[in-house]
Amino acid sequence: MTVETPARFSPLSGWQDRFAQLPTGLRVRELPFLTQLTLRVEPGSAAAKAVEDCLGIILPGPLRAGSPGDVEVLWTGPDEWLLVAPDGRQDDLLARLRSAIGDDFATVTDVSAQRTTLALSGPLVRTVLAQGCALDLDPRVTPAGSCLTTLLAQAPVTLVVREEEPSGVRLLVRSSFASYLATWLLDACTEYRSDTGGRGWDGR
């Protein structure tokens, strides 16, 4: 049997057309196939230091994301981070990290396909998210660099407010919930879709 480069499909690979029809105030695209590793290590431990040295980063504290280079580090719990890197980096990173950790107690687990990532941008981002997210997304309360694991509508998500895009938000959602979340997002955008210049309907 001849083996060609095997094709990959991300959870929302069929959704581009629907995302393209969103109102101008909201751009949504899936960032497929990102490398994602769960790192569990006691903060302040030798192993944590080894990880930081290995990646050239400081592990961010609660509710924060750090993005020193091509590895973005998302805080997801008091001894837990999600390392996010470009496609195809898992083997390299796993090897480097495990080597750095050595005999200390810390674990790294490849969870790249466990979640997919949605990149949201545009002036409507916060308005649309406010329809399903109970957290206060005002930039004064949730500034860039925030990383919140919470619920959006009925889907568990990790919501990251990006540094480089003032209105940019990334949503990491478990793969099995991705189509639910996408369906919800489209529905939440319904009223902004027509003729109103993306401001939504003002009721008058």
Partner: protein, 108 residues
């Protein structure tokens, strides 16, 4: 929809949490040293006070961490929450007194 202050994530709506019942119920040191009635106390019997109650909660939709809280069961108000990693269990057998104040080292 109450807010519960996760020790790690701060205030979140209660739907992000799951309830774990009474806190500080240690697994018995030696279950086989207990008679059936004592064992039943561990398995089935929990305090049910009207007023402050030390409970376990887990931030299921957030950081997945279990923590302890002191909550008033009449007003539903959380009087305190604390990271249970600061409170190692002391193996004192079956359920000790339920009510204790924040920071007090109790027989979890």
């Amino acid at each position: 929809m109450q807010l519960i202050a996760c020790p790690w994530c701060g205030e979140r709506e209660e739907i992000e949490f799951h309830y774990g019942g009474q806190a500080h119920i240690a697994y018995p040191d030696d279950p086989y040293a207990l008679d059936d009635e004592q064992w039943a106390q561990y398995v089935f019997f929990r305090d049910n006070p009207k007023g402050p109650f030390a409970e376990r909660w887990v931030h299921s939709a957030g950081c997945r961490r279990w923590f302890n809280a002191l909550r008033d069961t009449v007003t539903h108000e959380f009087l305190s929450v604390h990271d249970n990693r600061a409170e190692r269990p002391s193996r004192t057998g079956t359920a000790p007194a339920a009510q204790h104040a924040e920071g007090q080292e109790a027989g979890r």
